[in-house]
């Protein structure tokens, strides 16, 4: 059953066409790895999926239904809702320096819980026609309890996720107190906090010292079973975890297939050259 379908993604920056009609599909629970040289459009593709860029053309289907269409202009509200379906782990972590690890993970959940509480309040007040003083007080108390519960739940969830990425003892540390590898693991926990349908990684280990990439890759490996799209230069890792591999060159998908097909028996000349180059640079 195809779960995610991307159709005809095109994106131009000024005169440069970065994506020239990219299409692919993904099954639920599969890991798609995207490889390719810098400037081939991998990052732009992820950014389009996460609504950080709007493609000029293209559609996304999720779970069999039309999810987004570049031709439609979505309101901020709709965009927010759609963004929650996708998660993104950035190359340079982008943790919030003003919060400790735990709050970094829980913040978005806490805010959503508060919003739900506020919506509930509006609903209750509307139901209570011309609400009297007593009823208002009861509703206020109920909402307060709901907010409190939401916050507690978000924090408990953050604790569990930090444990999952092996950082429970660092939960009170601020980002500047963490190594790059630890920061990226917190960032992964943060992306998981909202339980996205599709989790994307944009070169998650590119900003790390070589000795720190292992711990991050291990965490990603541990997420097997989630639908994920990983852009990476770590070829050995790509080969190992990928259910499907896409090789991008100059804004198009040059070759795609299973891990064995792409790495074991590359067909296109560009892919062969690319794999040879990465091998020489010691990425395999």
């Amino acid at each position: 059953m195809e779960y995610l379908r991307v159709e005809g993604f095109r994106k131009k920056f000024h005169q440069t066409e970065v994506l020239k009609g990219v299409e692919f599909t993904l099954q639920k629970g599969e890991i798609l790895v995207i490889i390719g040289a810098s400037g081939s459009g991998k990052t732009t593709l992820l950014r389009c999926l996460n609504f950080l860029e709007t493609p000029d053309e293209g559609k996304v289907y999720l779970g069999g239904a039309l999810f987004s269409d570049a031709a439609v202009r979505y309101s901020d509200r709709e965009l927010r809702k759609k963004r929650l379906k996708f998660g993104l782990v950035f190359q340079n972590f982008n943790l919030f320096p003003n919060y400790d690890a735990k709050r970094n993970v829980s913040l978005a959940c806490e805010l959503l819980a508060r919003e739900r509480a506020r919506a509930k309040k509006r609903e209750l007040l509307a139901a209570e026609q011309g609400a009297r003083w007593k009823a208002r007080r009861r509703i206020a108390a109920e909402i307060r309890a709901m907010k409190k519960e939401g916050t507690a739940e978000s924090r408990a969830r953050a604790d569990a996720l930090l444990a999952q990425v092996g950082l429970q003892e660092k939960r009170d540390s601020f980002p500047y107190e963490l190594s790059g590898g630890q920061q990226q693991r917190v960032a992964i926990a943060r992306a998981l906090a909202l339980d996205p349908e599709v989790l994307c990684f944009d070169e998650p280990t590119s900003a790390l010292d070589p000795e720190l990439t292992g711990e991050v890759l291990k965490v990603i490996r541990g997420l097997k079973g989630r639908t994920m799209i990983v852009v990476t230069h770590e070829m050995a890792f790509a080969r190992e975890v990928a259910d499907r591999v896409i090789f991008m060159a100059d804004g198009v998908i040059e070759e795609e297939g299973t891990s064995e097909e792409v790495f074991g028996a590359p067909k296109s000349e560009k892919l062969k050259a690319f794999l040879k180059r990465t091998e020489e640079h010691g990425w395999i």
Binding site: R83, G87, N94, L95, F174, A191, L194
Partner: protein, 215 residues
Amino acid sequence: MTKFFAVTLELLEGFGTTCYIFIATLLLALPLGLIIAFGSMSRFKPLRYVVRTVVWIIRGTPLMLQIVVIFYGPGLLFGVSGFDRVPSVIVAFVINYACYFSEIYRGGIENIPRGQYEAGLVLGMTKVQIFFRITLLQVVKRILAPMSNEIITLVKDTSLARVISVIEIIKVAEGFTRQGLIWPLFYTGVFYLLFVGILTLLFRYAEKKTAYLKV
């Protein structure tokens, strides 16, 4: 000795006006500066250009001129009665300092890495949530040093109020020169130094408090 106390008392009275101008300006100019900063970063071009032009005019002309224009302008140009002396000074200071502050804010906001904003978006936050929950504190940390500079300058700029005969501390001390006393003028320096000293300590404390941000 009695003279010294008399002078101190009178200077203190003038210093009260100085402090009043300072505090009123700060309280009004800090938020107004933020609004101007948003205007100068607006994606709506006409607004952006209008705001930037205003900032250019205000920063490009002497504060003394602005005080004079605001005090005398309404009466001489339109024949309506304008503000009283102290309010005129405060209006001029607020407009002037809000423009300077706006540029500091703008620098602080534009220097926040775009990734912070994007990380917030991807986590489903609204622009308002991102600004208040993520960006604001980082901006505050970044602008503390330039702000402290500007605010210390404001302490001393209050003395410009005397051009429209507001009785602030320097004006008071100048009055004593007519009695042949020069030392009250030097004495005013002590007031300024103490005031600025306290502000410096406050800013240092704030910098220490935000040191953990390490942006």
